[in-house]
């Protein structure tokens, strides 16, 4: 009687363990297989096509002033592109404000080429002047690939942007009460089968900030960080964040600073 009970218990335990592990395995293998697929296609990242186009645009005269972008100062000196993206956002003396890559490029397009920033701001993503912007962004970020994310809050305006960004990160709004933190403030969570990095910590922040801009396979498009933030807000059921607005730069500052020390893996390849 005693032996039968023990045997029964043992079988029950083994059976439970097997079913537990098999369903856990099913879950692990679903996200693992997706990761494997991505590794396989990592070699042919279509971002390279945008990067090639971007390099051409950097060196091509454009705008009413018929000038190239080759004198653009992205923070490391006029015309220095290598390593610049890894240190953005940052404070710029000439505009007296903290700028991310895209708002800084708009400044260069305006000052050097005479192009109207409002046209860029108003254009829908993936269309018109934004197509140029996306290509140039791909070119610039590729030249920081492998560098360490190194963003400073030494300047008081940088510190201020960081604090505003942190507050914005936790700001709840819209008919679903979502903030960035609703999805991105905990470890080990996912939405459907999409893993969510915890952006409030260095490791997760680096996974987010270090991998965008990226080519998004599901839409067949290269998305800049501004587009990624824009679509986050859309899914949070917020109103539309204006292109290059302070909230987007503040959030970028918060994410980048939190990610400091991580590696720039852009341009990334995403689902």
């Amino acid at each position: 009687m005693q032996r039968k009970l023990t045997l029964g218990l043992a079988t029950g335990l083994v059976a439970t363990l097997l079913t537990m592990t098999s369903s856990v395995y099913a879950q692990k293998s679903a996200t693992d297989d997706i990761a494997k697929y991505r590794e396989m296609i990592a070699d042919g990242n279509p971002s390279e096509l945008y990067e090639a186009a971007g390099e051409d645009l950097w060196k091509k005269p454009a705008g009413p002033k018929n000038a190239t972008l080759e004198k653009c100062d992205l923070g490391l000196g006029a015309g220095v592109v290598k390593g610049a993206a890894a240190q953005l956002p940052r404070y710029f003396k000439d505009t007296n404000k903290v700028q991310d890559l895209e708002s800084r490029l708009m400044t260069c397009m305006q000052v050097l080429q005479g192009r109207d920033p409002q046209e860029m701001i108003d254009a829908p993503f993936q269309k018109g002047p934004k197509k140029d912007m996306e290509a140039i962004v791909a070119y610039v970020v590729t030249l920081s690939k492998g560098d360490k994310i190194k963003v400073s809050t030494a300047h008081p305006k940088e510190k201020e942007m960081y604090d505003l960004g942190k507050r914005a990160f936790f700001f709840q709004g819209g008919p679903m009460d979502f903030s960035c933190a609703s999805c991105h403030a905990e470890n080990g969570k996912r939405i459907r089968l999409q893993d969510l990095p915890n952006i409030t910590e260095q490791k997760g922040a680096a996974l987010g900030w270090g991998y965008w801009p990226a080519y998004r396979v599901s839409s067949g498009q290269f998305w800049t960080m501004q587009q990624r933030l824009n679509d986050c807000y859309r899914q949070q059921r917020f109103p539309f964040p204006i292109y290059g607005s302070d909230v987007t730069i503040a959030l970028s500052m918060y994410m980048a600073k939190t990610a400091n020390g991580g590696t720039v893996e852009t341009p990334g390849l995403k689902r």
Binding site: I41, D43, G44, N45, P46, E48, L49, A52, A53, Y215, G220
Partner: protein
Amino acid sequence: MADPMRVRAAENGGTVDVKILMKHDMESGQRKDAAGKTIPAWFISTINVKANGKDVFNGQFGPAVSKDPFLNFKYKGAKGDKIAVTWIDSKGDKRTDEATAS
């Protein structure tokens, strides 16, 4: 002229590994836009790769190949091979890009 391809060719032990990234919308003709209208088909029909003037790869793509195709294949060759990739699409548009096997 259509957007340029990215062609890379690396030789190792008598084998050349060719990697080609093509920029093309590859519309299957099955999709509908937001207004409900069918987006017309537009895709790469044929692709040809020559090494030093000789065919090393011929392919018939079609609506089943997705946007911005990536093609990777190997052939028996040598460093310095002149590689030329040409595609023709369903509208008759053409694109050729070259690379040297390194």
